[in-house]
Amino acid sequence: MRTNDLIELLSTNVEPADRRRVTRGLGLAALLGAGAVLCVALLTLGLRPDLGEPGVLASLLLKLAFGGGIVFLAGGLLNKVARPGGQARTWTFVALAPFLGIALLACLSLASAPKSHWDRMLVGHMWLECLVSIPVIGVVPFAVLTWAVRRFAAPTDLVRTGALVGLVAGGISAMGYALHCMDDSVPFVALWYGGTIAFCTLAGALLGPRLLRW
């Protein structure tokens, strides 16, 4: 095939391009993933029963804000990095801000408590459930987002794009798990939520080059 023929073919009757397709596709995928996570969290784990008790709502909101902040920041970065050359003009480390925030709050919380309580604050009651649930539930938004990136975007840095997909998926999953989780100490959230979301990010970075090729 002659290159000129290909150019002729591509430019004949060329349709206007839909410039908001990437943003819309990724946004829709995140919403779909969030909807699925909500269903899984409520149907299999169930909403925590003690929502009416004092202080419970505040700690639920803190967890949701942590997850939501991650989803918001990492989602915005993903929308840039998933485009050709986007990695060069994006400061990906901005996505660390929620982690630093929660770590700071955790340190303050530990500093204001006696050392003998630290164990319980960090380990909580359900650390194992948290450790398993967030990555497992995260598989759903990860799959939907991966599909959307492949279909609507065109990443040229697959490791970084994969990491951001994992980070967004982990954030969504953590928000869903927070509806069930009854461990309310800030250090617990920082350690187990932060740790599992970081794990999702690492998994995304490792899987990205395999899953996101186009």
Partner: protein, 185 residues
Amino acid sequence: MISDEAELRRLMLAGLEGDATAYRTLLDQLSRHLRAYYRGKLSRIGRSQSEAEDLVQDTLMAIHTRRHTYDTGQPFTPWVQAIARYKLIDHLRHTRSSMASVPIEDTDDFEARDDHAGAESAHDLDRLLATLPEKMRRAIRYVKLEGLSVAEAAGRCGMSESAIKVSVHRGLKAMAAAISQGTGR
């Protein structure tokens, strides 16, 4: 690799709006840049220059099917360069093993090619089209090869206009995939 950013960006923006003439000019200019880029890269690593044209077409296809990913607030050149580089790396990864099994004398047999107009790849348009489902093939033939309007093509195929557009879009995506996987040669 590219110096005339302002001009290319203008053409790209017009092309995104559906300006076929600007878009043709853009692809033509990009094809020259890409050809020079790939020939340079391939010869530097001791690979056959005959692969350059396959890569040029693969990249043009990618630019076309992913043109909506260009963020119009950003410079255009880095976007093209990122795709060109990505396609080169992908190509080298794909062909590493198969090229290793090709006798050395065969990898040197690049024929002298004119630097632009007649440059030809190993892909065959008819064979590429033949891999598509009937609907997509007819839509592409009418709208993209014969230059009929979408409305005329819709009349001939007995399909709605939006169905024709979707068929063209999907058909080109399928062709792009076939080109980058090296089927249809």
